[in-house]
């Protein structure tokens, strides 16, 4: 019997900010992501996509609703168990890479293992594996300020997957990169997803990046707006994304224009 394995499930997520003047950042978000999926989250600025990712990332508890990662609600864990949970099950990639400046690229990559107290031999082995997969062996000894943005993001991805997480979370991973580097990084995400099978959730505003996903969810004003699936052709998918965005933007661009 075929059973779909649900890695992430969001049930009726609400997020309300502010005390006196309340602002509802997320309204009744429901989401289910299966093992091995590569999901993109898109929406205009201020739509709540980063808030949503923070809620999934276990760093911003929802005001109400339930987050289940691999069937477990991380917000019910105590602080140190939650830390262990992040260390074992989650991987993070950020827009501004968030590498530690005092460490070399190699040291940054093994950091999750260091925190876990792994053996040095294990670290070396895993570092070698992940570095060769990501093609960054040559920069392992370099410091963070000696590498390009694309290389830094590769290193950040290596750090995010070295401990084989259950769920890889990426927040605008291509936001600080030029188009060539962005393409490389997205191809990397795709190949990692395909080859290792790591479930990936990515927030982006870039349709090109989003077109690498299997599925893209659109949110607007904190609410679910639409979702589209990728077919055979990435090019076609890209066009579909653009279409939804223009539909979204028809109303949203007024707002974002004002905000800018």
């Amino acid at each position: 019997m075929y059973c779909k394995l649900e890695i992430l499930k969001l049930k009726h997520i609400f997020k309300i900010y502010g005390e006196k003047v309340q602002h509802c950042a997320l309204k009744d978000i429901n989401l289910s992501i299966e093992k091995g999926e590569f999901v993109g989250i898109m929406g205009p600025s201020g739509s709540g996509k980063t808030t949503l990712l923070n809620v999934i990332s276990t760093i911003d508890p929802p005001s109400s609703g339930e987050v289940l990662i691999n069937g477990e609600n991380p917000y019910k864990l105590d602080n140190s168990k939650l830390a262990f949970f992040r260390r074992k099950k989650l991987g993070f990639v950020f827009q501004d890479f968030n590498l530690i400046d005092t460490l070399t690229i190699g040291e940054n990559i093994v950091l999750p293992l260091t925190l876990d107290g792994a053996k040095v031999s294990t670290m070396d082995k895993k570092l070698k594996e992940v570095a060769s997969r990501l093609n960054i062996e040559s920069i392992l000894e370099k410091r963070t300020y000696e590498v390009s943005g694309g290389q830094a993001q590769r290193a950040a991805i290596a750090r995010a997957i070295i401990h084989s997480p259950l769920l890889l979370l990426a927040d605008e991973p291509t936001g600080n990169l030029d188009s060539k580097a962005a393409k490389d990084v997205m191809e990397l995400f795709e190949s990692i997803n395909r080859e290792i099978g790591v479930t990936t959730v990515m927030v982006t505003h870039d349709p090109m990046s989003a077109s690498y996903c299997h599925r893209v969810i659109f949110i607007k004003d904190g609410q679910f707006f639409n979702e589209i699936h990728r077919g055979e052709s990435r090019r076609k998918f890209y066009q579909q994304i653009i279409d939804v965005l223009s539909l979204l933007g028809g109303e949203a661009s007024d707002i974002s224009a004002v905000r800018l």
Binding site: D60, R87, N98, T102, L103, L111, L115
Partner: protein, 652 residues
């Protein structure tokens, strides 16, 4: 990379950030250790309860208290700057325990290294420190010894400090919201707030403190003022009130008043909108607001450092003056009528002085002591004896009527208006048999400070009529021009005559007082100088760190404005003004504080120390300028590099 290596890398590759803190810690530990070496030296330790033990011991305590605060403040500043890094680590799954452990190891690495380097440097310089102390105490030499006790003490105390601060780190970093750590609490957008009430309070408190410091000098200008001054003088805890009001006033000065003034400046639109004024004023408001606590600390530390160094230097440089005024004669022997050996003692003194080849002039006086009806002791000297002394001291001769009296101060520092005995208008002798009118006050002490209180000069004829005689003294004062070399002969005389015999005779020399004062003040100079240096370095370390971390936040802003068309020259000007304010505002305020603190010191001194104050404040100004110039040029160079980089980046 193990966890330990991780912590080690963090320290090793962040040397630039920690440099000033580390050097300052090393210097502090070195001084603490060196003083401990002095304190535990066999020769010093054998003299328990001496001035050395007291002064150096208390300095050690002061250093420890300062170190605790210095490390606490530095470490919390470091941690605040690293909040994003901690956010990253926590999202990667670091537990709070691990985070505390990491900070703990880092602190201990820096701390242990500072302790080791400090002690090693201390050992290297210990011979020098012992020589300095030996010189101060006029010991032949203090030999080098292996100071295991000092090593243990230093290691123990400073390990405790670093350990204690490390234990406090969980309270310093707020790890509850990773989101805030990661994105940084948005500070720049916070509104500038100041309270007019508190700004006025800053002025009032500083004014009160300064007024209290100056009050002795302001006496006798206005009767109302005099009442206030007397009230202040009679109030308890004057020093505490003075210090507190200046400290609180300084804090409010930076946190409220400066922002208030700058905001006012902003309202002057023709000034504010003129060229780059807008940039530096609006920016400065934020920087002062964010750095108010640091500026306050730097000011207080600098003020303490300036006062310590200027004060002790001034004290030690006027010792000779002071002892000359305290003891107008090099030697004074006083005998009461019950002493049978008077003539024999005087002969001994004369012979001894002659045998050493000293030239001297001897002045003999007779003094009658009586007690008035209201139980007041009166000492009486006749006019001829007074004039005799007056001629030796270069004072004016007096010619009194039979009904006149001249009052003689008993202490060098006297104020006729506030001194009870000196404000007498009439003197009654022999229980009212003889009534005299006070005709004036002698300008100087004529024996030595403290001898013969309530001394009255009377006409010789009146003197001879006095019948009520409680005691009759003979006092011999020697004027020895070469008094600075009389220590040896004094010691010989002490061996023969002792210090005196109660109720019979006593004698005092200028050289002994001079030596004791000299020693104590040199000792103060010794510890005061190093204490001042520690505080000054500590203050500089805060400034360095602050500017360094600010730079990282500032650069993106400068890159932004440079795109809007700000030339590098203008940017340099804006940055220079801002750094100058951060550097010199604390310096100027600390200088003013010091001036008033020195004024308080002035009240216990006879000689003016204004000159010494100006010299030292000038020296510190030069040091500060050098520091400013070097930091500013580095800062500007960094900025230049960042902007060139960003321009290159854009060109690509």
């Amino acid at each position: 990379m193990t966890f330990l290596q991780f912590a080690f890398n963090n320290v090793k590759r962040n040397t630039r950030v920690y440099l000033a803190y580390f050097l300052s810690s090393v210097f502090t530990i070195m001084v603490f250790f060196s003083f401990a070496v002095n304190l535990f030296h066999p020769v010093i330790a054998s003299k328990k309860g001496g001035a050395v033990e007291l002064i150096i011991g208390q300095t050690e305590v002061a250093i420890l208290v300062f170190s605790f605060l210095f490390v606490l403040i530095s470490v919390s500043a470091f941690l605040k700057v690293r909040s994003k890094e901690f956010g990253i680590l926590m999202i990667l799954g670091m537990t709070k325990k691990q985070l505390s452990w990491l900070v703990f190891i880092e602190n201990m690495i820096i701390g242990c290294l500072a302790i080791i380097v400090g002690i090693v440097l201390g050992l290297v310089f210990s011979k020098l420190f012992l020589m300095l102390l030996g010189n101060i105490l006029s010991y032949e030499s203090l030999s080098f010894y292996f100071p295991y006790k000092a090593i243990l003490l230093t290691t123990g105390f400073f390990t405790l400090i670093f350990l204690g601060i490390s234990a406090l780190t969980p309270f310093i970093i707020r790890t509850n919201s990773i989101k805030n750590l990661l994105h940084g609490a948005k500070r720049a957008n916070r509104k500038i707030r100041f309270s007019i009430f508190q700004s006025i309070a800053a002025v009032l408190l500083l004014g009160l403190g300064y007024f209290m410091a100056l009050s002795p000098q302001l006496y006798d200008i206005n009767p109302l003022l005099d009442k206030i001054i007397l009230f202040i003088e009679n109030a308890q805890y004057t020093e505490v009130i003075l210090t507190t009001s200046v400290v609180v006033g300084t804090y409010l000065f930076f946190s409220q008043l400066s922002i208030f003034v700058l905001s006012r400046l902003k309202r002057n639109r023709s000034f504010y909108m003129n060229k780059t004024n807008m940039l530096w004023i609006s920016d400065l408001i934020y920087r002062i607001r964010d750095n108010a606590r640091m500026l306050f600390l730097v000011t207080i530390l600098s003020a303490v450092a300036f006062t310590a160094i200027t004060g002790v230097y001034a004290l030690s440089s006027v010792v000779k003056d002071e002892s000359l005024k305290d003891n107008p004669f090099a030697l004074t022997y006083t005998s009461s009528s019950s002493n049978d050996n008077e003539q024999q003692h005087i002969n001994t003194i004369d012979e001894m002085l002659e045998s050493y080849g000293f030239k001297y002039e001897k002045y003999k006086s007779e003094i009658i002591k009586q007690v008035s009806k209201d139980n007041q002791v009166i000492h009486i000297i006749k006019q001829s004896d007074y004039n005799n002394r007056a001629s030796a001291l270069g004072l004016e001769q007096v010619a009194l009527d039979k009904e006149q009296a001249l009052l003689v101060p008993v202490y060098v520092r006297f104020d006729p208006k506030r001194d009870k005995t000196l404000s007498q208008k009439n003197i009654a002798l022999d229980n009212g048999e003889i009534n005299l009118e006070v005709s004036g006050i002698a300008p100087k002490v004529i024996f030595y400070s403290g001898l013969f209180p309530n001394l009255v000069v009377v006409n010789d004829e009146t003197y001879d009529k006095i019948t009520n005689i409680l005691e009759k003294y003979h006092s011999y004062s020697y004027d020895i021009p070469d008094w600075l070399n009389t220590l040896e002969v004094t010691e010989k005389l002490r061996a023969k005559l002792g210090v005196g015999e109660h109720g019979k005779y006593f004698w005092s020399t200028r050289i002994e007082g001079y030596n004791l004062e000299n020693q104590n003040k040199k000792l103060f100079l010794y510890v005061g100088f190093f204490l001042g240096a520690i505080f000054f370095l500590g203050a500089s370390s805060f400034l360095y760190f602050r500017l360094y971390t600010d730079l990282n936040q500032e650069k993106s802003k400068y890159i932004g404005i440079s795109k809007l068309g700000l030339s590098f020259k203008e940017m340099k000007k804006v940055a220079s003004i801002q750094i100058a304010v951060l550097f010199f505002a604390p310096y100027i305020l600390a200088g003013i504080h010091t001036y008033f603190a020195i004024n308080v010191l002035q009240t216990v001194l006879y000689s003016s120390v204004l000159y010494q104050f100006l010299v030292f404040i000038g020296v510190f100004l030069i040091l500060n300028i050098i520091y400013y110039v070097s930091v500013r040029s580095r800062y500007v160079n960094y900025l230049k590099r960042f902007i060139l980089q960003s321009q290159l980046h854009n060109a690509k």
